[in-house]
């Protein structure tokens, strides 16, 4: 099988992490992928200020910043209606003590959440996924961000029972698929 390739030259990255040493390590990894050095911020407010004046092709945020929850920064990005960067891919890195924030990070509009420790393999694959998949972007009032359903192909009709669907952990995604299938059948 052919090796997948990514041309990450000239991709501008905003990296937000409270720890300068960790930022340095992630920057090393990104440069190893052929990316330019990322812009680094220590706090959420620094990141906001940067994004008000610059564009980034990719954002990598720590799950919690010293001055605000990481979710606040993500929600702020996603609600910039008149700015193209509301659609920017956001990868969230969660430290061990931030693991309980994973679900809230995902539900605040992050594309992907990575548990630390991160490795070149897991961060490259997540960047590749963010770059190569076409994921609808939803503005549903309370939730603004990429569609949280991972599977883009609906399963065959009749494969799911309503009771088990309700037990599914992905926020009604299966019910939505069923409604979509039903609408497609009617039309």
């Amino acid at each position: 099988m052919a090796q997948p390739r990514l041309n990450l030259k000239n991709v501008t990255t905003l990296l937000v992490d409270s720890d300068p040493f960790t930022r340095g390590l992630v920057a090393h990894m990104l440069r190893g992928f052929g990316m330019d050095s990322p812009t680094q911020c220590e706090t959420g407010s620094q990141a906001r200020h940067y994004l008000e004046n610059h564009y980034a092709d990719l954002c990598i945020f720590e799950a919690a910043q010293p001055d605000m929850p990481g979710t606040e920064l993500i929600k702020w990005v996603r609600r910039q209606e008149n700015s193209p960067f509301r659609f920017v891919p956001i990868i969230v890195m969660s430290g061990y003590t931030q693991l309980r924030l994973i679900s809230t990070a995902r539900d605040s509009g992050a594309n992907i959440v990575i548990k630390k420790p991160i490795s070149p393999q897991n961060i490259f694959d997540r960047i590749m996924w963010a770059a190569r998949t076409t994921r609808p972007f939803l503005d549903a009032g309370e939730y603004v961000g990429p569609d949280r359903r991972f599977k883009t192909v609906a399963p065959p009709n009749g494969q799911y029972r309503r009771q088990s669907d309700r037990a599914a952990p992905r926020g009604g995604a299966v019910e939505n698929l069923q409604r979509t299938n039903a609408a497609a059948e009617r039309s």
Binding site: P4, L6, G32, F33, G95, I102, K115, I118, F124
Partner: protein
């Protein structure tokens, strides 16, 4: 009335740039990043030692005898979280497990409003021992230390921070590895 859902199909600049001709094959990119990271191993080891030193200062200066305040426990969590990240990144498994255990202890103490110094102090001693011994510590020695730390956590019946966290495959879908 519920808010109407608006759906967009944005083509991001990341997608456009990444799809250009050229670039690195996945394995080469990962190897290159690993090599780049490896140059930081020495500095990371020093950073871990510095962090353990910071923990030693915290446990050596409790606000009252054998007690840790909330601020000190919060600092323990912050510093130890970084040790977990670095140890995991450089495959220092024993340190990684011990540091996670310390996080669980500090988190448990905070959640229950407890202020015991001893369970934190014994973890910090274990971290120092493992970090300073490095490869000289035999696997059986590491296993013994980790076993004792596990007993401490079990004694307090603290829940690991990672319990109940979504699995990796719920956080990221199957990755498109085909060229």
């Amino acid at each position: 009335m519920s808010t109407p859902i608006r759906t967009f199909f944005p083509r991001t600049r990341l997608s456009e740039l990444a799809a250009r001709a050229g670039g690195m094959p996945r394995d080469l990119a990962i190897e290159s990043a690993k090599a780049s990271l490896e140059t930081m191993r020495g500095e990371s080891t020093l950073e871990i030692a510095r962090s353990i030193g910071e923990l030693e200062k915290i446990v050596a200066a409790p606000a009252a005898a054998a007690k840790l305040g909330r601020g000190q426990l919060t600092s323990v969590l912050r510093v130890t979280d970084q040790i977990v990240s670095l140890a995991g990144m450089f495959d220092l498994t024993g340190l990684d497990v011990a540091a996670r255990s310390l996080c669980d202890v500090a988190d448990g103490l905070l959640n229950r409003g407890m202020d015991d110094l001893e369970p934190v102090a014994v973890h910090v001693q274990a971290l120092r021992l493992m970090a300073s011994s490095g490869a000289a510590l035999p696997p059986e020695g590491v296993a013994t230390i980790l076993g004792e730390l596990a007993k401490v956590v079990a004694h307090f019946n603290f829940t690991p921070i990672g319990a109940g966290v979504p699995a990796d495959d719920e956080l990221c879908p199957a990755l498109p590895l085909a060229g």
